[in-house]
């Protein structure tokens, strides 16, 4: 009885998928040649692919402070591709670290509090309304608050990401537990399972499929929150690159950094999907597809009444 792969099974043919990307790129290039307006910074408002691939990428070296064989442009050095790679690498490390730490803390917090809340009537009565209220507050509206509280530090960005992830994970966990058939918990009880054993053998494994969708949603949110936090209040990171590029209207660099964000978001998304596939190999086929739809649609599982 080998486990079936949990990856999407009905994919469009490769040439179609690549074809769509080619059309988007071609349309962009066409737009660059139609709208030739040049912004105040000297960057075209709609930069061509060639401009993005040369000028915009190379000039990201502006964010490199020198060393490792690449001069610091701010100290009068030359902007080099190597410098750009180093600058992007350094910023990426900062951003990835924040997302990783923030997501880890947020997930743990959200799952633990969510599971405890959904299995305790009293706790649910206390927690659920305020948590659902927090869920309704736009996360980005709170970003300045975190900047005020934590200043321009990593701690501020990480706690902001952890906050957002934990709220989404909490509501997702409540939803996941609420759709877990009650008979499983009753069966555990009639086997004499303790509360802890019920969490371990029944509730936690039982909510994995729904939680997988929530985790993927939370991961997407984490990248959004990371951009917001870095634009508002940090000294380094991809978001800082984007912020400075925006301020000086370097449209091309903004687009390059956005594409880097997109790349990381996609890579982490598929990485989590791949790594967690083994956890849902027991699922019937149609359920796998439903949970994937939920994840791709970006909708959190429905909150409980």
């Amino acid at each position: 009885m080998s486990g079936r792969p949990a990856s999407p099974r009905r994919r469009a043919p490769l040439f179609l998928r690549l074809g769509v990307i080619a059309i988007v790129v071609a349309a962009w290039e066409l737009a660059a040649h139609v709208f030739t307006h040049i912004g105040t910074s000297g960057d075209p408002t709609v930069p061509s692919i060639e401009f993005l691939g040369t000028n915009s990428i190379r000039r990201l070296a502006d964010f490199w402070n020198g060393g490792l064989g690449a001069p610091s442009p701010s100290a009068g050095g030359k902007e080099t591709y190597w410098g750009a790679v180093l600058a992007v690498g350094q910023a990426s490390a900062a951003s990835l670290e924040r997302v990783f730490v923030g997501v880890t803390i947020g997930l743990l917090l959200g799952i633990v509090v969510g599971v405890l809340t959904s299995t305790s009537r009293r706790l649910r009565a206390i927690m659920a309304p305020s948590m659902h209220f927090l869920r309704m507050v736009p996360f980005l509206a709170l970003a300045p608050l975190f900047e005020v509280w934590f200043g321009k530090t990593d701690l501020g960005a990480i706690s902001f990401i952890a906050y957002g992830v934990s709220v989404v994970t909490f509501t997702g966990t409540i939803g996941a537990v609420s759709v877990l058939p009650r008979v499983f918990i009753e069966r555990a009880a009639t086997n004499g399972a303790s509360r802890w054993a019920t969490y371990r053998h029944v509730i936690l494994p039982g909510i994995v499929p729904a939680m997988r969708a929530t985790v993927l949603t939370a991961l997407g949110l984490a990248w959004t929150l990371d951009v917001a936090a870095e634009i508002l209040g940090t000294q380094r990171g991809l978001g800082v690159m984007m912020d400075y590029s925006l301020r000086f209207s370097y449209t091309g660099r903004v687009i390059v950094v956005a594409l880097i964000f997109l790349f990381y978001a996609a890579v982490t998304y598929y990485l989590v999907q791949y790594l967690t596939a083994v956890m849902i190999r027991w699922q019937p086929r149609h359920e796998v597809e439903v949970s994937q739809l939920t994840a791709i649609g970006g909708a959190a599982p429905p909150p409980t009444a």
Binding site: V183, F184, E186, N191, A197
Partner: protein
């Protein structure tokens, strides 16, 4: 090395132990399950208080196979859940082995109406679950689980995922899981209700075989008169939260088609159908003895 004796250096006398046990058996010579004036009520969302159980008295002897039948929503499942400890009583008491039932426990195994096989555990792990909870060492519980899978002819799929099994096979996994845990009392809540006729008959045979071997005390809820006739040593009819019929079934075992077509069986069937509101009412009420067939015409 001899076993340590009682304080004071007195010798252990084997005889009084046996007498003690006999004495204990006499003083606790009561039914395995005793239900006294059990009441369960809840408030319906639209206001009124509903008595799911309205004062049930029932005694079940050790080793009896009691089928509970009744129309849906009349309290069969609530009665079973009260014994399982899954619903709190609002009055009366339920005793199993002279102990008050206050919560679920491993001494009362339940085969649920819904599919209760954990989809995230392979078949073997599902059957091992109860033993694992009780802290039985891995090797031992594997042996026990495999033996019970063999008894339901599923040892060949021990390492399959439940999703790879048919509904009937999963029902057999549930049966194996409950018997592997060796409960004192087996509670079954329409366990085969969702299955096709042939599968249901096979599973009834499996249950009877297990019961024959272990002589567990069984409470078996069903809406199916035929199923009750095949299985029960006693049939109880529940209506509006009360027991309205308590009928020993003295048909032989194994129950052949001939036995199920006997006059006695026909009379019981007619009586049960009447309780379920299907047959035309007979002029005479049941007085404890089976009705004669001509009385029903």
């Amino acid at each position: 090395m001899t076993a340590p004796g009682p304080p004071g250096g007195q010798r252990m006398d084997p005889v009084p132990v046996a007498t003690q046990l006999e004495h204990r058996a006499e003083t606790t010579a009561s039914a395995h399950i005793r239900i006294r004036d059990a009441r369960v009520s809840f408030t319906r969302a639209d206001g009124p208080n509903v008595d799911a159980l309205a004062g049930v008295d029932l005694q079940v002897e050790r080793g009896e196979f009691v089928c509970i039948i009744g129309r849906s929503g009349e309290g069969k499942t609530t009665l079973l859940n009260a014994v399982a400890g899954l619903v709190p009583l609002s009055g009366g008491e339920v005793l199993v082995d002279d102990r008050h039932v206050t919560k679920p426990g491993a001494d009362r195994g339940v085969i649920f109406q819904a599919d209760s096989v954990f989809p995230w555990m392979r078949v073997l792990a599902n059957v091992e679950f109860g033993l694992r909870i009780r802290g039985i060492p891995r090797r031992r519980r594997r042996e026990v689980a495999m033996e019970h899978l063999r008894q339901v002819e599923l040892d060949g799929v021990a390492h399959a995922w439940p999703r790879e099994l048919s509904g009937g096979m999963r029902a057999r996994v549930a049966v194996a899981a409950v018997f592997a845990n060796d409960p004192e009392v087996l509670l079954a809540d329409e366990p085969f209700g969702a299955l096709d006729y042939v599968t249901r008959r096979r599973l009834q045979a499996v249950i009877l075989e297990q019961w024959g071997r272990t002589r567990k005390t069984v409470l078996f809820v069903t809406h199916d008169v035929e199923e009750a006739l095949v299985l029960a040593s006693r049939i109880i009819v529940v209506s509006r939260g009360q027991i309205v019929e308590n009928l020993p079934i003295e048909l032989g075992r194994p129950r052949s088609e001939a036995m199920l077509a006997s006059k006695e069986a026909v009379a019981i069937r007619a009586l049960l159908l009447e309780h379920l509101g299907i047959a035309a009412p007979t002029t005479k009420r049941h007085d404890g003895a089976p009705l004669a067939a001509e009385e029903l015409s």
